[in-house]
Amino acid sequence: MLLRHTPKEVAERKALTINPAKTCQPIGAMYAALGVHGCLPHSHGSQGCCSYHRSALTRHYKDPIMAGTSSFTEGSSVFGGQANLLQALANMFTIYDPDLVAIHSTCLSETIGDDLTQIVQKAIDDGKVPEGKKVIYCNTPSYIGSHITGFSNMCTGIVRGLAKHTGNAIDQVNLLPGWVEPSDMREMKRIASEMGANIVMYPDTSDVVDTPQTGEYKMDPDGGTSVKDIASSGDSIKTLACGAWASEDAAKLLDSRCKVPYEVIDIPVGLSATDRFVTALADAAKVDVPDSFISERGRLVDVISDMSQYLHGKKVALFGDPDQLIPLTEFLLDLDMIPTHIVSGTPGKKFTARIKELCAEKAPNVNVKNGERADMFLLHQWIKNEPVDLLIGNTYGKYIARDEDIPFVRYGFPILDRIGHSYFPTVGYTGGIRLLEKMLGVMMDKIDRDAEESKFELVM
């Protein structure tokens, strides 16, 4: 057994986290920053942070992930990181010439109390920021929240740094997609354009972390939302924020600073959440939902009705991020599957409340925990106490899946050992079919593997 020391008995822990279902803020800020065109993310802290974040994102996307670091030394930790950051900005603009730099802090710079606002202002005053270039930033103390918090904070930083309210409203909707894959962002844009909905979506990492192999490396990839478009979002008629954890703060800021009213909706994972997404987008953009969506939806519904016997009553354990887990749980319930164990390292009381509310009727005994020590060790112990038919989560789940022989669908961040997530969306109706194909595939593979010869089925 790979996790042979994990006991079945759950002992309460007050201090120790084992096999976390989250990581720290800065990586989320780095990912969000990559969703702005021409933006070079910068990590204000020790080299290690930047190196770790770049490595983790690189392994997940198998694509270049560029970012600078302030390379703190003991000296800077004592005297503050201003000198390093000023130097870093000057160097990045001189050597790599990005349109803008997006700085996020770290536990180090936060602990010593570096004031990014002041330092960035100084950089501008000192002429370290060339004409026409921009510097945006956000605070991402690693000891608060999770990688999702960091993503949210950078989204807010993007709004603060780039969104402009001119007073001349533009007939467009801001779409904050939340922490999803480039494939998902691509699909959200397709849905909007298919609908004739005029949107500005950011961040948008498509064509940034899923770039083509052409033999020519572009340090400034084609993708990312342009600074101009983001600026215009201050004049939009409405903001749709996908995911309360990743997108709500930025939407709030757009409201308070630019008077753009907002609505928080779920990431469109699965049937019901996509129904709400499509309706909300149509309403916000004041367009009708075209008939093509009746067909798209109908194809998902068709697969569900055709295959329900393989899903009905199957128990599922899942771990990941709240904004995904909530609609995913709802989708499982629409499939008559039974969400049985759910953990997320990301804190936020709303999470367990929402999950319990969703599960109240069909899965009242669901085990759910989030925040500190809501980790994969606990999830594994729960599974040992109540086995499941399916495990859904990031690549770290493979250790539990192999030990317990549970069909496993890779979903969330990070996925380090399979490809596909960058290219095939799991959002929208078609994304729902993909999720179904994955879930059915692994469960049916087990049926085929374990079937007695007399029960081996040709048709399923």
Binding site: S55, E74, I95
Partner: protein, 545 residues
């Protein structure tokens, strides 16, 4: 290009590179870009601060301490005191392999687990010592480990948590568990390197020498600076085994606390990764009188060479004979494979920018493949890794190195026992055995090859443009950047999830993998046919001197 063609002069390249930099940066970087010339004793600036914003390969002290040195040990719980990320990123990402050990499949192995105190803001404000103590207690209660190592992350030092005091208290409280801490905050030093040193110190201080049980067998050695990535250590153990050489302890591939505790009973220390472990070798020599030799088991020839060194050292004819037998048994397969691979590899160009020894060691394998290393450099090496230990006296201690603890080590009153006389060591050294010595990378590299310490992305970009290498060796952050330029990148930290590459079998694996890379069709099909019919230049480029 044939193996002895002269390399082109990269001076213009160096100029172009520096031209882009602000003056101060250019001045600093120029000292770290050296055009190799065997006739000159050139100094290369290294182990100095990375220039902020330049886009470096480097990581932090914590990574070098927890990730590199302690990571591979199976039966210690490595508890990271800090926010969650530091522990999360070091979770199973280094491919240190471990076998179940004598206890079999149920033997202790905590390497698949990730432990953290997951510091929250109130811990930053009010201090995290209490939470740390609690976490140690909980880890002990659940897993009953022999040892718990506590690793400090950036905030810990700043808020003044005393991990050593907490560890001491918990060690006493728990009684049968060796708890000790590491002040390896990420901001210490200038790279992973400082973390190696800190890890060496604490292992030496808290573990080495705790068990005086003498080994039964003959020819007892420790292998230092081998981390069993991709199973390298397994392959080396296989060879030692065949030769009748007994490894008391490997630092720290596939290691256990028990082995560390007994390691001072060995009669010879072999140093693989000089950068990360030389401190341990020196301290053990001073305290216990164990001599050390630099070896390199990367490359079939150097593996043979390394084995022969051991034979020489032990001055045992039977052992020497056995070693020759083993080499004779292993080489035919190696030669057969290299022959096949050379059909594709001879004359191809390689570049290596990685680690603190690998960029040197792996040149051996490329040499065996008839490939030219046109440029190389370390991520966190020191001058002695480039120029050889002869320069040690001349290396000035700067602010960053100064604050990394230097253990005061003296000969152990009872246990100091010089395994070899100074005369013997002198003679061996004269035979070129690198006793207590390492000659570094530069002497092994061709003239006009470009040596670059702590390479930046910009420099990588320009070097590739200039050399159009056939294989670029670096790490995961560089992997897809370089490949997007049409150049296959071979990861030398993770081996691209392959390996082992050490020893004889490892050499065969490496030859095959390079052969595979060089014969991969897709590199010839990068361009959309409607854009151009000619095949992609990068791969078929032969260097024109």
């Amino acid at each position: 290009m044939s193996e002895n063609t002269k390399l082109p002069d990269p001076s213009t390249l160096k100029k172009e590179i520096l031209a882009k930099y602000p003056a101060k940066v250019a001045r600093k970087r120029s000292k770290s870009l050296i055009i190799n010339d065997q006739k000159l004793d050139q100094e290369i600036q290294s182990n100095v601060r990375t220039i902020p914003g330049i886009i470096t390969q480097r990581g932090c002290t914590y990574a070098g301490c927890k990730g590199v040195v302690l990571g591979p040990t199976r039966d210690i719980i490595n508890l990271v005191h800090g926010p969650i990320g530091c522990s999360f990123y070091a979770w199973l990402t280094r491919r240190n392999q471990t076998d179940p050990g004598p206890e079999g499949p149920d033997g202790e192995n905590f390497m698949t687990y990730c432990f953290s105190t997951d510091m929250q803001d109130d811990n930053i404000v009010f201090g995290g010592e209490k939470k740390l103590a609690e976490a140690i207690q909980e880890a002990y209660d659940i897993f009953k480990p022999k040892a718990i190592g506590v690793f400090s992350t950036c905030p810990v030092g700043l808020i003044g948590d005393d991990v050593h005091a907490v560890s001491r208290q918990m060690k006493e409280k728990l009684g049968d568990c060796n708890v000790f801490g590491f002040s390896c905050e990420g901001y210490k030093g200038v790279s992973q390197s400082a973390g190696h040193h800190i890890a060496n110190n604490q292992l030496f201080r808290h573990v080495v020498g705790n068990d005086d049980t003498k080994p039964e067998s003959k020819f007892n050695i420790n292998l230092l600076g081998e981390y069993n990535i991709g199973g390298d250590g397994f392959e080396i153990d296989r060879i030692f085994n065949k030769c009748g050489i007994n490894v008391v302890c490997t630092f720290s591939g596939n290691s256990t606390m028990g082995a560390f505790e007994k390691s001072h009973t060995a009669d010879l220390n072999l140093v693989m990764c000089h950068r990360s472990i030389n401190y341990m070798a020196e301290m053990m020599e001073t305290k216990y009188g164990i001599p050390w030799m630099k070896v390199n088991f990367i490359g079939a020839d150097s593996t043979a060479k390394g084995l022969r060194k051991i034979g020489e050292y032990f001055e045992d004819d039977e052992l020497k004979a056995r070693i020759e037998e083993v080499i004779a048994e292993e080489m035919p397969a190696v030669e057969a494979k290299v022959e096949a691979a050379r059909k594709r590899s001879v004359g191809k160009l390689a570049m290596l920018f990685v680690g603190g020894s690998r960029a040197h060691h792996y040149q051996e394998l490329f040499k065996e493949l008839g490939m030219e290393t046109v440029s190389a450099g370390y991520e966190f090496g020191h001058r002695d890794d480039y120029e050889g230990r002869k320069v040690l006296p001349t290396i000035k201690v700067d602010a960053d190195s100064r604050n990394i603890e230097e253990l005061k080590v003296i000969a152990d009153p009872e246990r100091f026992n010089p395994r070899a006389s100074d005369i013997k060591l002198k003679t061996l050294q004269e035979k070129g055995l690198e006793v207590s010595d390492y000659r570094g990378m530069m002497p092994d590299m061709a003239d006009n090859s470009l040596i670059v310490d702590d390479i930046s992305h910009w420099e990588t970009d320009k070097l590739i443009e200039f050399y159009k290498p056939d294989v670029f060796c670096a790490g995961i952050k560089e992997k897809y950047v370089v490949q997007k330029m049409g150049i296959p990148l071979k990861q030398l930290h993770s081996y691209d999830y392959g390996g082992p590459y050490a020893g004889f079998q490892g050499a065969i694996n490496f030859y095959s993998d390079i052969e595979m890379i060089l014969s991969t069709t897709i590199w010839k099909k990068l361009k959309a046919p409607w854009l151009t019919k000619e095949t992609d230049p990068c791969i078929c480029a032969e260097f024109v001197a």
